[in-house]
Subunit: 415 residues, 2 copies
Amino acid sequence: MSKQHKKDLSLIYGKMSKLLCLSLVLMIPSPAVMAASPEAALTIGQNYTLASTYLKEDRPYSVYLPDACKTGGASAPCPMLYILDGERTFHHASGVLETMSLHGQIPQMIMVAIANTADRTGDLTPTHSLDDGFGRQDPSRSTSGGGERFLDFIEHELIPEVEERYKPMPYRILVGHSFGGLITLHSLVNRPALFQGHIAIDSSLYWDNNSWLRQAEAKLEQMKTIKNRVYVSVAEYAPKGNMDISNRFERPGERFSYALKANQSPHLQSTYQQFAGEDHGSVGLPSLYYGLKFVFDGYKNLPPSVESQGLEAVKAYYRDYLGLYGIALSPPMAIIANLALTAELNNRYDESIAYHTYNIKTHPKSAGSHYALAETYRHMGKTDQATIHYKKVVELHPKWAEHIEVMMSSMSQEQ
Amino acid sequence: MSKQHKKDLSLIYGKMSKLLCLSLVLMIPSPAVMAASPEAALTIGQNYTLASTYLKEDRPYSVYLPDACKTGGASAPCPMLYILDGERTFHHASGVLETMSLHGQIPQMIMVAIANTADRTGDLTPTHSLDDGFGRQDPSRSTSGGGERFLDFIEHELIPEVEERYKPMPYRILVGHSFGGLITLHSLVNRPALFQGHIAIDSSLYWDNNSWLRQAEAKLEQMKTIKNRVYVSVAEYAPKGNMDISNRFERPGERFSYALKANQSPHLQSTYQQFAGEDHGSVGLPSLYYGLKFVFDGYKNLPPSVESQGLEAVKAYYRDYLGLYGIALSPPMAIIANLALTAELNNRYDESIAYHTYNIKTHPKSAGSHYALAETYRHMGKTDQATIHYKKVVELHPKWAEHIEVMMSSMSQEQ
């Protein structure tokens, strides 16, 4: 097949459009939730309880476990995300994880959501204080100060239980909001190696009349080897009545972010984001999304210098991405598929085939990867190889039989 | 009790802090997903199929039905949200709805997610075209052009079935992405009264070599009575190889948004948002969030002129919010609770009590509303009334017994 003929075919049948359009349909595995049979309930997770010695109670928690993260799954071992206020965060947070990982923005992850019991204030506050952030005493805080006990529960009871069960990679993120953000940053400052990523949302950093903040700042000054990515967000506060409520969340949040920026640890990356138009409650959802984008900065968007060097450089990039923690990642399927497409558009067919082949090798059940490789072979005029992979698509994804029939019949007319 | 004494109590015990901190815990009803018993599966919806005459198939769809939207529920009747590509959107979209409604950003809604079957392209494209947006022919589009049939299925089969079952309010939103965005905007232009809100995400508006777009522009010029809110978003495209792929989604999306802005219907509101740093897939999740914020603009943030006039003005505001469609809304609990707080901070105790009482009347099972009213009575020195509502909290939410004990004991020492 002449080069000119290839170009004509490219003009007639297009290389790019189908992949782009199908990327939403076929390139990515269907989420587990819709795999259930019709008329059945849609299930996204499992509830557990842990008999805690530290907390002296049976503590409920819930787990979101993508198929790819199960033992032997395509993405196993996976990182872990721990999130507080689980009774309110599980549903949307697991949906955010599922969707962001489908688009290659973050890895597939296992999520553990810790539910509150009777004493949220006690669990999530690091010291005893009745001060309410306006210099006044609040009796509802009489049980405050159980934060270290709560972190002991997480470190010595919860993490061992779930990580023994799922065998994840040693990379954990902690997400908390309000008091949950306070204990999240308390964990960062006092147990800096327990979690490798922290997302702290509109955190109650006024705690204990700012004395928690002053201690945290002093500790951060002494810490030179933090290996972490830390995302700090705040809502937008306008004065209400006579009170400037920005003193409670916004200003201490910003002040803490300065202390993070001033920290000299070479492997600490942090950012601070304020959300205009969001209040203390509504800031949670966008913060989770943009927080995960920050914690996995560079995971989806490769440096052009890496991309230009082909598959081995890309593999090396992901191998080193969490190398700080002794973790070697594999390139995500969605990223590799995009690289294959770009290579093909630039007539680097061999490189494109190498990418597709890598995806098939690492995700043998991905109909989308076989489809993409079949398309590349078709554009090259290699109909025999194209046919092999078109047939594989139907084998893996029988619903697409009719569509593949059209593609193969069209290909035979190109001969 | 003297005014001075009241002020002192305010300084000592604080009016605002507890409400703000508890707002995440107690003011809002717990999502249904965590109501399941420990060790049980977390369920967020139900799968159905509909034997469709238009589509000549059993079409699967899934439903997210919050308790508050069930017949007789606290928020019933609710608006409906219909979303395409259901097998990939159900989980995160239902989580976004749950969380945004908990924070009063949008009403509680019922969501129907329509899953794809074998021919997504056929269902979601309005005309027959093999053109792939670069002027080339794409055989995978041989079945394109079934969009009107698909909209007939939605209008004459799906909507009657689900709305007979759930008796929602006559307010519907349609959400679609890519080809789904194309059919969403096709529905707007050709069946403008079928949905009252449209969220179209990185839509394939290049369709049929821009001839769909030209027809839509011509139709919009003639339409003077559209009553709708329309959100159009696009991703950020950089050229790949020799192709300027912004021609496919970004430029026609912007062009369509100009046609919307130029439309003379007095009750058409539209916006256009481009997401830097998001691609065709990843733009879906932030678009859903900001799209819902746009469709329900003004739902959470009242004009100050309304807020200053008290409960009756607020009720009138919500009664009229969807008045265009003959729908009278009630004020959301979270908004009323915030207004009560602001009133109390400004020493308008009677107004604060009126707000709390309204919340209790409309949500009799809300422990948070009783708690907030008890607090207001305590700050007023009305311990008898405070006690009544503290006890009601424990009755509705026994886990808080210990906490309420502390509050009541502290109150008795204030005497």
